[in-house]
């Protein structure tokens, strides 16, 4: 029995074996090869215009959109991280604060100074959270944010290990400075956007 059209068009091992003993099928395979040779004469179709610039622009736009999407995701993560860090820090601070009553009031200048510093830090943190509504695509801001996270960790450790007020104050001052820089950076970013 001869090979059918489908077998002739793509020869498998069985079909190849059949060809060795069948001149009719060999002729048909030869005809198919000639048909295919004819198909190689199909003319080359040229693009009407070179669209490279258009393609490049579309690609760059896509990259920009992907980057913005990524930054938004990072920003959301960062906000959640910063808020939880601030909350946990507040808990640690409140836990470590001396319990005051009317009778046990003792004026502590160092403590007062530290409390004021903490309160000011919280205010700055609030202000920054309100301002930082745009995506955090400023590299400098990202660096500052990392620095802030490190200070927060150090502060948590400081309260956990009950280090001296002086060391705590230094850390709070560092934090104060970094948030101040972040606020300044968001202000500049806002100005550039405008």
């Amino acid at each position: 029995m001869h090979l059918n059209n489908e077998q002739l068009l793509e020869l498998d091992d069985t079909a190849k074996l059949h060809l060795t003993g069948c001149s009719d099928c060999r002729n048909k395979v030869k005809n198919i090869a000639n048909l295919r040779m004819g198909l190689t004469k199909l003319p080359i179709l040229k693009m009407p215009t070179n669209n490279w610039q258009q393609t490049k622009q579309a690609y760059l736009l896509q990259l920009k959109e992907q980057q913005a999407e990524k930054n938004n995701r990072d920003m959301k993560l960062w906000r959640a991280g910063a808020l939880s860090m601030a909350a946990s820090l507040l808990i640690v601070v409140l836990w470590g604060m001396p319990k005051l009553s009317v009778n046990s009031y003792v004026p502590l200048t160092k403590e007062t100074q530290l409390s004021q510093l903490i309160a000011h830090n919280q205010l700055l943190q609030q202000e920054f959270s309100q301002r930082a509504t745009t995506s955090l695509d400023n590299v400098y801001l990202v660096q500052l944010n990392e620095e802030l996270s490190n200070i927060d960790k150090a502060l948590q450790q400081a309260y956990a290990e009950s280090v001296s007020n002086k060391e705590k104050e230094q850390l709070w001052q560092q934090r104060h400075k970094v948030i101040g820089q972040m606020l300044l950076a968001t202000e500049q970013q806002k100005t550039i956007t405008i």
Binding site: I44, M47, P48, A58
Partner: protein
């Protein structure tokens, strides 16, 4: 770069490495080398110049996004032609231009002897001849007979079985042969 044409052209591995480093000049060189081949393949399958241009753009954007995943285990042009083919067939599917074959249609044996002679020899305008095929049949025909994909690869492009590709191809040949035979008869009558 080689002196071949279309997807037969080869590019250097250094150029591919540059492109993998997202060098836009390298991408441009790849585009200049293969844009016509991609356009030709897309246009022959979909039949619409504007859609074909759009497919080329989409395919190159995919190439630029996925070039990191290219492993030099096959020809770069082959990898690119697969991207273009997928993109083109997806367009056909989106426009409901891909038909299905029933089991009965698959099993129906075509008893006609299609390859007893080289009947394509007399045909001068191959592109017009291929226009007689449906979008699916034209796609299978071009992919198997011109681009050199096998039935398994074509079945993968369409998410169909190999039988679908085999039956579609032999029926496409039958239709083309009928068209050529009719045209020959008409020209004979005209001469008389």
């Amino acid at each position: 770069m080689s002196k071949n044409k279309g997807f037969q052209q080869e590019i250097s591995t250094e150029l591919i490495r540059q492109a993998q480093r997202k060098d836009m000049n390298a991408f441009e060189q790849i585009y200049v080398t293969y844009a016509d081949a991609c356009y030709g393949l897309a246009l022959r399958i979909c039949g619409q110049p504007a859609v074909a241009e759009d497919i080329v753009q989409e395919s190159f954007m995919k190439l630029m996004n996925r070039i990191d995943t290219y492993r030099a285990d096959g020809l770069f042009a082959g990898w690119l032609s697969k991207i273009v083919t997928y993109e083109t067939i997806n367009r056909l599917k989106a426009n409901n231009k891909v038909y299905s074959l029933t089991e009965e249609q698959m099993l129906a044996e075509e008893a006609v002897d299609l390859f007893d002679c080289n009947w394509l020899e007399a045909c001068l305008d191959l592109d017009s001849l291929l226009d007689n095929l449906s979008a699916t049949a034209r796609a299978v025909f071009i992919l198997h007979e011109v681009e050199g994909f096998n039935h398994k690869e074509i079945a993968d492009f369409f998410f169909r079985t190999e039988s679908f590709s085999k039956v579609t191809l032999s029926r496409a040949y039958k239709l083309l042969r009928d068209v050529v035979a009719t045209a020959e008869q008409e020209s004979k009558y005209a001469l008389k």
